[in-house]
């Protein structure tokens, strides 16, 4: 009886075992393997797509019209050299940083709404006048915080009064990456990040003893621990949640050590207002209580110790006074009995 090798249910095994069935069956097996791999890949891609769709609801960069922009602007090398200034203008959008920024829900066209339909974009497109304050006012109903107060502070700042050329919100804040201080960030991180904004322009201060800061003991230690803004903004009217935008000139800035190095100081409390919880998490309640309100000059502003100290002193004064009064009474009694 002649049987086709393929009709034999065991033939596959036998062929493979004995090498009788040639390349046809091997090809078939290869195909099956390929199909399996492809379907697995398709499934994982579908899952990724599903996740992407989920994120798309939140991330502005994944919105339909943003995709066209991001086709080019995601590239890290996306930049051009400005003909007038000769400087490299970075046009790349860091998607990860954008996702963590306060504006992450916005699509590109929510802000860049005119003149970008043509490619390459016309040079006039770059002249768009984006206004943080106005935009935030218009979108207040969508939850954009009102920036009018900040703007008033900013108008008094040295950056405006000294007519610094081309100074705007964007000189310090990159709207594609801007985010407020994260709850988990350490003081050192916050300080480094915030001071980095200042030092990006004020590069003349990147020296061991920065100009104008000669009076400050251990300037580098200070710079690692406090923000430039903590001394270079007015003491009055501070809001704990955000630094003032009224950046002061050097001569108007705070140079009094005690403004920081004392209990309840405005300078200290603004930066350290959320440190208490953080310290409690890290060090435990008791250690935090001991270290709390420490200042460097005395470094001992611990409320408990103060109350204990004052209490003991007061008790001693009362005890001594009572002792003295009792002596006086005895003396009077003796005098009268005589």
């Amino acid at each position: 009886m002649l049987l086709s090798p393929l009709s034999d249910p065991r033939s596959g095994f036998s062929c493979l075992a004995y090498g009788q069935c040639g390349t046809a069956l091997r090809r078939l097996l290869l195909l099956v393997l390929l199909a399996l791999t492809a379907s697995a890949f398709a499934l994982s891609t579908a899952a990724a797509y599903g996740a992407a769709v989920q994120t798309a609801k939140k991330s502005g960069l994944l919105k339909e019209d943003s995709r066209d922009c991001m086709r080019c602007h995601w590239m890290e090398t996306m930049a051009y050299r400005d003909r007038e200034t000769g400087k490299i203008v970075n046009l790349s959008i860091d998607r990860d940083a954008y996702r963590h920024s306060v504006h992450h829900e916005l699509a590109c066209s929510d802000c860049h709404d005119r003149g970008y339909s043509h490619y390459p974009h016309r040079t006039s497109s770059a002249d768009e006048a984006l206004q943080c304050v106005e935009c935030h006012e218009e979108r207040e109903d969508d939850g954009a915080p009102n920036l009018v107060g900040l703007h008033h502070e900013y108008e008094k700042s040295v950056h405006v009064t000294e007519d610094v050329e081309d100074f705007s919100c964007f000189s310090c804040h990159n709207p594609h990456t801007f985010h407020p201080v994260n709850a988990g960030e350490s003081i050192a991180q916050v300080v480094t990040e915030t001071n980095g904004t200042c030092l990006d322009c004020h590069t003349e201060l990147l020296t061991p003893v920065p100009k104008g800061h000669e009076w400050l003991p251990r300037p580098q230690a200070h710079w690692g621990a406090v923000r430039c803004l903590d001394c270079h903004t007015p003491l009055e009217g501070r809001i704990l949640e955000r630094p003032s935008h009224n950046v002061l000139a050097a001569e108007d800035s705070n140079q009094l050590c005690v403004e920081c190095h004392s209990k309840g100081s405005a300078l200290l409390s603004q930066l350290y207002n959320y440190r208490t919880e953080q310290a409690r998490d890290e060090k435990g309640f008791f250690a935090q209580a001991i270290y709390n309100d420490a200042y460097i000059v005395g470094m001992t502003r611990n409320p408990w110790m103060d109350w204990i100290g004052l209490g003991v002193i007061l008790l001693m004064i009362l005890g001594v006074a009572a002792h003295g009064y009792a002596r006086y009474r005895f003396h009077r009694e003796q005098e009268t009995s005589k």
């Binding site: 050590c257 005395g298 001992t300 100290g309 001594v320 002792h323």
Partner: protein
């Protein structure tokens, strides 16, 4: 009436100078610690405190030298054998006897001008607390040369706490000292003695 010349001029000068320096340190220290700008502005208090601290060091050294070579040291020798008995007697007098006209358990003499309680507290203050206060003060002045941490804790913080606690204790001593000197034969007997040098008592000792 008895009159004893207990306090030579150098000792009296030292005592009042030391008192002046100490009160200066206390006032400027309190002003700095509690940021009492109305009392003494911070930037004024700091250099005064630092200067007075250096002066106090000199004053303490004078005290030690005076005790070693000026013959004053003998008053600070604690007689361990009689100490418990003397301490109890002295404490009982301050807590009870003084109110009922009991005789003073200790009699001032050229050999023993300090009672047991005084000896113990003065030794504790001058040879115990004062050096710690002075050393921690100097450590503050040169805090940048110190290691960052000691036993895993910030060195400056340890020094600051030691300085503060000792300062509180010495402030306490000042209060008690100022009061105890009124417990002589009359409230001003001891104060006058530290001004004139002569310890005068109506009753014979």
């Amino acid at each position: 009436m008895t009159a004893l010349y207990l306090y030579p001029l150098w000792l009296r000068l030292w005592h009042w100078l030391n008192a002046l320096i100490f009160v200066t340190l206390l006032v400027t220290g309190v002003s700095m610690h509690f940021t009492l700008n109305w009392l003494i502005p911070f930037d004024v208090a700091v250099p005064i405190h630092n200067t007075a601290g250096v002066l106090l060091t000199g004053s303490w050294l004078l005290f030690v030298i005076g005790n070693l070579w000026g013959g004053n040291g003998k008053h600070y020798l604690i007689n361990l054998r009689t100490l418990p008995k003397d301490l109890i007697a002295q404490t009982r007098y301050y807590l009870h006897g003084i109110f009922v006209g009991a005789p003073h358990p200790f009699h001032v003499s050229a050999e023993h001008k300090l009672n047991a309680l005084q000896t113990l507290s003065y030794v504790g203050v001058m040879y115990g607390l004062m050096p710690v206060l002075i050393l921690s003060g100097w450590a503050f002045l040169f805090s940048t040369s110190l290691p960052e941490t000691l036993f895993g804790i910030g060195t400056v913080w340890i020094i600051a706490i030691v300085h503060l606690v000792v300062a509180w204790m010495l402030a306490l001593f000042l209060i008690v000292h100022s009061y105890i000197i009124t417990t002589g034969e009359t409230p001003t007997t001891n104060l006058k003695a530290m001004v004139t040098g002569w310890h005068k008592e109506q009753s014979s000792g």
